[in-house]
């Protein structure tokens, strides 16, 4: 009898355990952790767009493919390798594209409208799900087709990376053209972010330097030597109207906008050596920030507007320092990163700095992670200068030295893809990437 009771008790316990195990089954499903991914770009096929009526003056698909490729986050399939060229969803044979490992497909077509303008229609397709992720029909004048292509690129980029695209933005830079008898022509120019569609804002026989975009993208501050001495001007991009905001004895250089657009940080040497000042644009009053016998220059506001970074050789070689606007304290940022670090700019998220790093093998563009102090050299050429972040932080434009002097180049923020941007002769200096188009 005792044995029976014992058996029942034991079996009851087993029963309870089995039941409990059943309840835990959901959590018992085999789990596999994927902790690594491929360090490669997304395979995408941008198929040349079909056209109805007049062939548009811009190859929209080519612009899109080039834009995506330049970010380093996409590897568009070369046109000549495409297995087919569908322009409609119904024409897509998904199996073919899966065979090539293509994850995404962009198809579209352009149509000439009765008024002579064009209508561009495109679809972004998830090949493995066999469904459209996004699709639009956009009317565009022939002269705006490049912008349309950039806007389409932005939509695709944002959909596939989760980050905002920065293709429909512009860059400002200075070109230098050498003329006969040693004379030169300096031009302040504006182009699409891919370097196309350049137009001149200002032309001068004296040097132009350091263009800087206002946060709203409507104005550009720059340095001009037109008065034989350096002065800082602010010019309205649309109207061309300009205003001199800083001039006088010594150097007036390196303008940088505060995030609210009401102040300008700059370098002046009226008191002897170059020091960092802040100019209040509404009152025209200057406030000196640094007091140091060494050179202090190239200021740049942090995105939160609470501090400035600048270059100073107070420690011997040029290094990056930070000035706290709340309490006026200065601290060095670059330690153990070589003997030469200059012209730093904040990334849009404020977490890292891009700067020019000088070493035994020349000057290169490098990225400093402010949280981890991780330091990464992004370029491999020898005379790389003037880095500027894209407003989405995904890319950096800079100048590098080519056969015809300094050229415009772009690198993805991970250094994976670097590309020289097109230009029509002459040197290019100090590119500045615009904010997002409002």
């Amino acid at each position: 009898m005792k044995l029976v009771i014992k058996t029942i008790a034991v079996n009851l316990i087993v029963l309870i355990l089995v039941t409990a195990a059943g309840n835990l089954r959901a959590a018992d499903v085999l789990q596999i952790v994927i902790e690594q991914g491929l360090d490669s770009a997304l395979p995408i096929a941008v198929v040349p767009f079909g056209s109805e009526g007049r062939t548009p003056p811009v190859d929209v698909a080519a612009v899109i493919a080039a834009n995506l490729a330049r970010t380093g986050r996409f590897s568009p399939m070369p046109f000549e390798d495409l297995p087919s060229r569908p322009s409609e969803f119904s024409e897509i044979r998904f199996q073919d594209w899966r065979l090539f490992g293509m994850e995404y497909l962009v198809v579209g077509q352009s149509k000439q409208l009765p008024n002579g303008e064009f209508e561009v229609q495109f679809r972004l397709i998830d090949v493995y799900k066999g469904k459209q992720l996004v699709g639009y029909r956009v009317p565009a004048a022939a002269s705006k087709l490049r912008l349309t292509a950039h806007q389409v690129s932005d939509i695709i980029y944002e959909k596939l990376t989760g980050d905002r695209g920065a293709f429909a933005t512009r860059i400002a830079y200075v070109t230098v053209e050498s003329r006969a008898r040693g004379s030169k022509v300096f031009r302040l120019q504006l182009s699409d972010a891919d370097g196309y569609d350049a137009r001149t804002l200002l032309e001068s026989s004296e040097p132009l330097l350091s263009p800087a975009w206002s946060p709203d993208g409507n104005r550009i501050a720059y340095v001009s030597f037109e008065d034989k001495n350096s002065a800082i001007y602010i010019q309205d991009v649309r109207s061309g109207r300009r205003e001199r905001v800083a001039a006088g004895a010594g150097i007036n250089s390196a303008p940088a906008w505060s995030p609210d657009g009401r102040r300008l940080a700059l370098t002046r040497s009226r008191d002897g050596d170059p020091e960092i000042y802040i100019l209040d644009l509404s009152s025209g009053r200057f406030q000196r920030l640094t007091h140091n016998p060494a050179i202090d220059t190239e200021p740049s506001f942090s995105p939160d507007g609470r501090s400035l970074i600048f270059t100073s050789d107070r420690g011997g070689g040029p290094q990056i320092y930070s000035y706290d606007l709340a309490n006026g304290t200065t601290r060095r940022i670059t330690f153990n990163k070589g003997n030469y670090n200059t012209r730093a700019r904040f990334s849009p998220d404020g977490r890292s700095l891009v700067l020019v790093h000088g070493g035994q093998r020349g000057y290169k563009i490098a990225l400093l992670d402010l949280e981890t102090d991780g330091f990464r050299v992004l370029t491999e050429t020898r005379l790389d200068e003037s880095p500027s972040f894209a407003p989405n932080g995904s890319m950096i434009i800079y100048t590098t030295t080519g056969l015809r002097g300094s050229e415009l180049a772009a690198t993805s923020v991970d250094g994976r893809v670097r590309q020289r941007l097109t230009q029509r002769g002459g040197e290019v200096r100090e590119p500045a990437w615009s904010p997002f188009r409002k």
């Binding site: 079996n11 596999i32 994927i34 991914g37």
Partner: protein, 281 residues
Amino acid sequence: MTFKRIDTLRAFFYSLAFHAGVIGLLMVSVEFDRYTAPISATPSKIVKAVAVDQQQVDAEIKRLRAAEHKERRELEERERKLKEELEKAKQARQAEEARLAKLKKEREEQERKKRAETQRLREAEAKRKQEEEKQRQVEQEQRKKAEAEAQRAEEERKRQEALRAQELLDAIAAEEQQIAASQQDEADQGIISQYAGQIKAKIQSVFINPLPNTKLSCVIHIRMIPGGEVVSAAIVRSSGNSAFDRQAEIAVEKASPLPVPSDPRLFQKMREIDLIFDLAK
């Protein structure tokens, strides 16, 4: 039976009443005869015609007349007395009749009361019988019910007993199975983890992290069919970034079919997997 007896009783009473009535009537008629007999026996005087002198005759006539007058007065007196007596007799008879009628009425009343009482008794008796019968039926029904209840309880008890016995057997079987399974499990686990490693490698070889500088993680629950083809992949926990989630999904699709054991028993243990995409920055 009972009713018959009651009928007989009633007949007896009727008969008794009837005889009493007849006897009464007979007594009345006897008395009536005794009073009427003198009236019918009154004799009439016959006059004999003989020639006599007138005076005599007149005296005689006068005497005769006086005699006749006297006789007539006597007769009238007698007649009057007779009438009185007759009247008295009549009144007496009427009184007697009234008495008899009253008696009869009383008897009838008694009779009626007796009948009503009998009826009442009879009905009461019937009612009592009926109620007895009803009570008997109710009792019988209750008894039957109780018996059925008892039987059902007994059956339920037996059923429960059988059930408990079966449960015990099942539990024992489950326990045995559990022991066997746990031994098998250890062996299986080794094989499964080998395949899990292969699945991980295959997915990692095709997964492109679209945001390598951001720490993201998502969980995809997949179901496979034998052979390893992924038939469903659902994001059960999103990274919050649709691009990352989508790339994880595409990686699963691209890697399908995944390496799985061909042994159906082993496959069963890994036909559903939670893939945790958790990339170190």
